[in-house]
C-alpha cells in the first residue's frame, strides 16, 4: 500500500476535478481516500499485452 496521501496532494486532486468542498466534506473525502486506494489495488494484477478491457469499441455498431 502506498504512503498516505498528504492533505496538500489531496487538495490538488480536488482542485483538478473542479470540485469546491467545504472543510467538512474535504475531511470526509480525505478520510475515504484510502478506501479508493484499496479498491484500486484490487483491480491490479499481472496482465499481458493481449489483455482486453470489457468495453471494447465496435465500429460495426454505428
Amino acid at each position: 500500500m502506498p504512503d498516505p496521501i498528504t492533505k496538500e496532494a489531496f487538495a490538488a486532486i480536488v482542485a483538478d476535478r473542479g470540485l469546491t468542498l467545504s472543510p467538512e466534506r474535504f475531511e470526509e473525502f480525505y478520510a475515504l481516500y484510502p478506501l479508493v486506494r484499496e479498491i484500486r489495488a484490487r483491480l491490479r494484477n499481472p496482465r499481458g499485452y493481449d489483455a482486453e478491457p470489457a468495453s471494447i469499441f465496435s465500429p460495426g455498431a454505428f
Binding site: 476535478r17 473525502f29 479498491i39 484500486r40
Partner: protein, 467 residues
Amino acid sequence: MSDPTFLTIAEAAKLIKARKLSPVELAQACIAKTKRLDNVLCAYVELTEDIALAAARTAEAEIAAGGWKGPLHGIPIGLKDIYDTAGTRTTGHSRLLATRVPDEDATTVTKLRQAGSVITGKLGTFEFAIGGPSFDILTPPARNPWNPDHTTGGSSSGSGAAVAAGLVLGAMGTDTGGSIRGPSALCGLAGIKPTYGLLSRKGILPLSQSLDHAGPMCWTSEDCALMMQALAGHDPGDPASARVPIPDYAAEIGKPVQGLRIGVIRHFHETDNPATPEVLAALEEAIRVLGGLGCEVVDVTLPPLADFAAVGVTIMASEAFAIHEKTLQASPELYGEFGRDRITMGAFFTAADYVAAGYKRRELAAKVAEVMKTVDVLMTVGSPFPAQPIDAVPKYLFFRTPSLTMPFNVTGLPALCVAMGFSSTGLPLSMQLVGKAFAEPVLFGLGDAYEKATPWKSRRPAMALAA
C-alpha cells in the same frame, strides 16, 4: 372479489380477458388505495390519475370490442421516475430536474403502452438512482409497507413499496448494482435484473451506462415473465441492445424443475459479506425445498466478492461522475447529500483505474462463465439482512461492504430475487437466483416452483390489508 389490487398480473389478466374484471375498476381501486396509503409510504413522486383512468377506459373499450392485447392489457403499472414519459415529468427524484418534461417515452414505456398497460405514474427512487434514502431531495423517500419505519432498499424504492402494498400490480425498476433486486428482496417481491442488453435503456436517466439494466418488479416470478414478454427486444436506439431471439418467458412456469443443477455460492453470503443467522437459516430451508422439488444442489466457488465489488464500484462511480461532473462542479447544493457525495467519490478514480476495472471485468466474467458450464443456476441471498431502519442506512455502504448483487451487473447475467420467508420482526427475506445469459425462462420457472411450494406469497403487509 375482495381486493383486486392484490391479484397477481396473471390472475387479473385472466379475469380481464374474460371480462369479469373491469380495467377501470381495477385502476380506480389502485388509485384509491394509493390515496389512502401514500401519505405514509411516499411511493409516488407523481400519481398521474387522469392519464391512468383514460388508459383504463381505452383498455376496457378495446377488450369489449374483442381486442384483448395480452396479459398486460388493462394492468396498472408504475414507473420508477427515471423512465422518460412524454408529457409527464421525469425528475430522477432530484431538484435538479424538478420541472423536466420529456418529449418522448422511453422505449420500454412505449412497449408497455403498446401492450395496453395502464401507467399510473412515477415512483420514487434514490436521487439519480444512487442517492438515498434521503430526506433532502425532491420528495421524501419511499417507506417499506412491511414496516414504514424501515427502508425499502434502493434505488427502485417506490417500485418496491408500490407493488408490495398493491398500489400497482407491477412496476419498472432499474439495476446498476442491485437496485431492482434490493427493493424486491426487502419488500418481499419477485424482481429480475435481466441479461445486460435484453431490455432497452433508451430514455432512462443513466447512472452508469455499462452497468445499468431495466427490469420488472412484481409480486411473483410468473408476473415478471409476463412483463418481460412485453419489454424484451432489440432497440437500435440503445447501443448496448442485444440482437437475440425472444423466447416465451413463461414457458417454464408450472413445469417441473427436477434435474436442474443449482450452484450455491456459499462464500459470498457466509464469509465475503456474511448474512444474518436468520437469512442464512432461511436460505438453507430454501435449498431444502428446492432439493425436495428434485433440484440437484451443489456448492460452487467464484472469485472473491470484493473483486466484483471493486470492478462495479470503480465503473459505476467513474461513469456517474462523468455524467454529473458539470452540475457537481457548478451546483452541488441542488443535490441531496447522499447522491452528491456518492457520485463525487467517482472523482477520485483515475482513467487507469477505469480501464483496469474493464480488464478485471472481462476476467471475472470468464471465470463465472466457466463455473456456469457446470450448473444451470447460481444461488445466494438477495440481501444479507432484512430492511434497515430508514434513518440508519450508511452513506458509503456500497463502497465499504461488497454487494451481493453487484457481481451480476459486472457479468451481465440475469438475476432474479424471490421471497424466501420473513424475519422474526416480520420483514421479508429473499434469495437470488442467477442464470446463464439470456436464460431468463429457467429462472422464472424455478422461482415459480419455489413460490408455489412455499406459503410466502399468501402474506401481504398489514397496513395494506387494512387499507
